[in-house]
Subunit: 320 residues, 2 copies
């Protein structure tokens, strides 16, 4: 099976399109962290991005790419996470209607973030079937355009703009690593990085409790169903045919890490870089700690995906 | 009583002296935070500074200002907090000996930070008398120069360099606010700000459980002893005659805030700016939330003092 993939030119066009609306996020590093992992690591801090996550890039590119007729009708997506908030934010920027289908049991802060950007929330039962039928019904009734969280060319092109900026500032990276959930960020990152320099090693990183990407790449057969068991709430999704196809063609490997190492990586980032990142941002550093990505002695770029989490529920024990 | 105070020229010289060694820290802001407090707030992020706190500035200026003979003998201070680590760091930069007198009951992470920068730790009983006699003994035996955490002109001049950078980027601030413990940061901030623009309102902010600065300014008489009761571990100190004198002459007011509002401010900063700051950094925003500094409608600069804290002990309840 083959799809139209975005090219680095499409990603550059996406960058020109979204640049007025997004933050150019900083790149941070820490000598102590470098000593701990034995690499020279540059962190692209998408936790400082609009809506607190790289998802603003893809959603903004998709919304700003719509033709006038489609825009007039509005957009829809299903996501209780960062993509829902990002689509709400981007739609408000363009002044169009956004509807987000959210499972009834989604956490309150996520719902509030989506509502705060002015999107309509439609609740559904917490199953894939209920979600899909709710989306289909809304599309049939209102003519909304579906902006899928990752199985969408414009979204993938938008996500690829983060590594464009990173490589502008640090052109000599040996490898780049991003978290892997549905594969939107990793696909965009891989296409952009290889469009700039074909010798960069592009790696994904996942928690062991949601390692469908690793298993799909190992067997050559996309894992279609998974019961995830991980604290990385943004990475509990399987790849789509489209993202699997990009990843198969571009990615050198998938590093897998335990949740224990994800938490260790998260604490190192909080303590050493003094920034707040969510668990889903931490598998790349965790995979370096676990040596499931061979990065010793190399210059490594890591996309830190986001910084949205409930500060009342941290994944480690706290003495008050 | 009157002292030689650093002038803005001394602070500019300090900046030229330390600039090769310190970070130019970023200034962050958040529209949502601005809406919450009703001001336009610019946060100077000294949590990203070397050793994780503005203390690197003062310690670096003091150490780099020593003449060769004094430097050859080495320096000493008493501080279980950020100043101890900062002096250790600055001394290693210059290649001189540093000794830090630390109470036996100081938390392990603080001791480790000081030791990691190569300073010698000398333990004392956790009383002011024991600490002072330990320092005097070391000076008598080895001829060390005392670099006091705040009662020192070069230290105060160094701390003033943060607001120099802030006003370079945001020259039109109406007021600037810093935390107030011993008064080194506030003194340096006040002298620098007024040396640049005499119409800027300079404010300090303290927790209600360590409000000696507020009471000293109200009565005109320096409070000399206090039993602090606050989570802001960096602000449990009383002013010195020197810092009280500067503050009396330069500071428009001291905003006081409850620990509850300090925690609220800390969470807002973590959630909205996505950065890790320590409790002692948060009284300025807490005082804005509590309206004990009149800042509504104004452009406010806040120096966020640091980001060192034990992530195993956060000042709010966590469900794991």
């Amino acid at each position: 099976m083959s799809f139209t993939h975005p090219t680095v030119e499409l990603i550059r066009e996406a960058h020109a399109r979204i640049r007025p609306y997004i933050h150019r996020t900083p790149v941070l590093s820490s000598r102590t962290l470098n000593e701990i992992v034995g690499s020279e690591v540059y962190f692209k801090c998408e936790n400082f991005q609009k809506v607190g996550a790289f998802k603003a890039r893809g959603a903004c590119n998709a919304v700003m790419s719509l033709d006038g007729a489609a825009a007039a009708k509005g957009v829809v997506t299903h996501s209780s996470g960062n993509h829902g908030a990002a689509l709400a934010w981007a739609s408000r920027l363009r002044g169009i209607r956004a509807t987000v289908v959210v499972p009834e049991n989604a956490p309150d802060p996520k719902k509030r973030a989506i509502a705060a950007y002015g999107a309509t929330i439609v609740y559904c039962a917490p199953t894939v079937a209920a979600r899909e039928s709710a989306v289909e019904k809304l599309i049939a009734e209102h003519g909304y355009t579906l902006i899928h969280p990752f199985d969408n060319e414009a979204v993938i092109a938008g996500q690829g703009t983060a590594v464009l900026e990173l490589l502008e500032e640090h052109p000599h990276l040996d490898i780049v690593v991003s978290s892997l959930g549905g594969g939107g960020l990793l696909s965009g990152t891989a296409i952009a990085a290889h469009g700039i320099r074909s010798d960069i090693g592009v790696f994904g990183a996942e928690p062991r409790g949601a390692d469908d990407g690793f298993r799909s790449l190992a067997s050559g057969d996309r894992v279609r169903e998974m019961t995830p068991d991980t604290i990385c709430d943004g990475l509990r999704t399987v790849l789509s045919d489209r993202t699997f196809d990009v990843i198969r063609n571009h990615v050198a490997g998938i590093g897998v890490a335990s949740d224990e190492n994800v938490v260790k990586a998260m604490r190192l980032i909080w303590e050493r870089l003094k920034i707040v990142v969510e668990p889903s941002a931490c598998p790349p550093l965790a995979a370096l700690l676990e040596d499931t990505i061979a990065a010793r002695g190399k210059r490594v770029g890591i996309i830190l995906s986001g910084g949205n989490l409930d500060l009342d529920r941290l994944p480690w024990a706290i003495a008050v």
